[in-house]
């Protein structure tokens, strides 16, 4: 069943066309991975989906409803986001980062929010760090708090904007591990990432975006082993070489 559908999405900043008509659809429980060179519009695309950025043309449907007809705060409650730079609230503990949305947006009581926050922190392996402040956590731990913060809102879809790009190499694994668990648990995820291993093993669909357009889209095995487009082959070839 289709959860998210993009139809001819366009976005430009001044003279630069960042998205030039992007269309695709994903089902519930899909893990859609978007790859592409920097500047190809991947992050902009994600931000259009939760309306942190407004599109110029086209349409985006969430569960059949055009998102510009939904109150932006309601939309964002239903579509979580995990950021490259974590963007944790620096003045709140790991637990406080998770509870804030629960109390301020969902209206949970403090004890309910704490119980739920602790539950999600436990799921990302941070039960013992609930009282730590962001500055006291490693990058991998911060990102797992970021994931718990998004998850706890119980969204229908979570957007991941290069969640491991700001991490030291040895910390990437713990974040990808959490993302794999989510994928296997049926969380609907739209991920921009350079982690080819994750794309290959966890993605249900892989999309190669270049210059604001979808160049090729399909099951990851097909794009890796048998791409139709030369650009896909050379881009994925480069990234896969890097991993060796």
């Amino acid at each position: 069943m289709t959860l998210l559908e993009l139809e001819g999405v366009r976005k430009s900043y001044e003279d630069e066309d960042v998205l030039r008509g992007v269309s695709f659809a994903m089902d519930r429980q899909d893990v859609e991975v978007i790859v592409g060179p920097s500047g190809s519009g991947k992050s902009t695309l994600l931000r259009c989906v939760n309306r942190l950025t407004e599109i110029d043309d086209g349409a985006i449907y969430l569960d059949g409803e055009e998102i510009h007809g939904i109150d932006e705060n309601d939309l964002r409650r239903r579509v979580g986001m995990v950021f490259q730079d974590f963007n944790l609230f620096a003045h709140r503990t790991a637990r406080g980062n998770v509870t804030l949305g629960l109390t301020a947006v969902l209206g949970l009581s403090k004890p309910e929010a704490v119980e739920r926050a602790d539950d999600y922190l436990d799921r990302v392996g941070l039960a013992d760090q609930a009282d730590s402040y962001p500055a006291e956590l490693s990058g991998g731990q911060k990102q797992r708090v970021g994931i718990a913060r998004a998850l706890a809102m119980d969204p229908e879809l979570i957007l991941f904007d290069e969640p491991t790009s700001a991490l030291d190499p040895e910390l990437i694994g713990e974040v990808l591990g959490v993302m794999r668990d989510l994928a296997e648990g049926g969380t609907t995820m739209l991920c921009v990432t350079h982690e080819m291993g994750f794309a290959r093993s966890a993605a249900s669909t892989l999309t190669f975006l270049d210059d604001g357009r979808v160049v090729e889209r399909g099951p990851p095995e097909q794009l890796f082993e048998n791409p139709r487009e030369d650009r896909t082959r050379s881009f994925l070839g480069q990234l896969t070489d890097l991993e060796r």
């Binding site: 963007n87 944790l88 949305g101 301020a104 970021g146 913060r149």
Partner: protein, 257 residues
């Protein structure tokens, strides 16, 4: 000419001494300072009170003003930033005189014990308070702008309104980052309460002046001035230390991101 002046001055002193019966004191007039401790204490109380009311007004007007300068739009923002420029660009003595004579403040009662006219005190509070607001707004504006935009995006991404995000995420951090600038402002306002002497408010400097301007007491000028300098210093020093302590107590563990 010079001789004539000296002669007149000397004559004046002699005259004062003759009429009051006090021989002019020459040096080491500390006994005079100590003997008038009550006057200086009352002056200190007025100074502290005026500092408190001015800073409070400065905060109550300055915090929203700084917020408007960052998040506001259109005429409101223009009005706020213009008011700030005007207040910061006017000497504080001019402001205080302007507020006292320019505002239609009716003559009010005189506070007992402190012997301060309420309308004079009000004019001084308004002048010092709004000027402080103009500076405090810049402290808060800078602090708000220093909070990483990403945190705001993260707050919006869980469905918070702009207002909620500012209140729950930006303000708590901005207030902490304002502490050093606020300390500065506190010190400046405390010392600038002394310009209220221009409208005759009986704060510390005014009372000190009244002491050494008494007939025959011009020998005690240095002693009185040094004494009130020490009082101003102790007030700024202890308060700054207290704010340091509070800043540490409420600091974010592990430091800012």
């Amino acid at each position: 000419m010079g001789l004539a002046l000296t002669g007149t001055a000397a004559l004046g002193v002699c005259d004062w001494a003759a009429t009051t019966g006090n021989p002019p004191l020459q040096t080491g007039d500390w006994a005079f300072v100590v003997g008038n401790w009550e006057v200086l204490l009352l002056g200190t109380l007025v100074t502290v009170l005026l500092t408190a009311t001015s800073l409070a007004l400065g905060f109550l007007a300055g915090f929203p003003a700084g917020t408007v300068e960052v998040y506001g739009t259109g005429r409101l923002r223009d009005a706020v930033s213009t008011a700030g420029v005007l207040l910061r660009g006017t000497p504080v003595v001019v402001l205080i005189v302007l507020f006292f004579f320019g505002l239609p403040i009716p003559r009010l009662l005189t506070l007992p014990v402190l012997d301060v006219r309420l309308d004079v005190f009000l004019a001084a509070t308004l002048a010092l308070g709004f000027r402080s607001a103009a500076y405090q707004s810049q402290v808060f504006r800078g602090a708000i702008q220093s909070i990483d935009e990403g945190q705001l995006a993260a707050a919006r991404s869980v469905g918070m309104t702009q207002r909620q995000a500012i209140r729950h995420v930006v303000f708590p951090q901005a207030v902490r980052r304002s502490i050093p600038g606020f300390q500065n402002e506190f010190t400046i306002v405390l010392k600038d309460t002394s310009v209220a002497f221009a409208i005759g408010l009986a704060e510390l400097l005014t009372r000190a002046e009244n002491l050494y301007l008494q007939p025959g007491r011009d020998t005690a000028i240095m002693e009185v001035i040094l004494a009130i300098s020490a009082i101003y210093f102790v007030l700024t020093f202890t308060t700054n230390r207290t704010i340091d302590y509070l800043g540490d107590a409420y600091a974010i563990p592990g430091g800012d991101e």
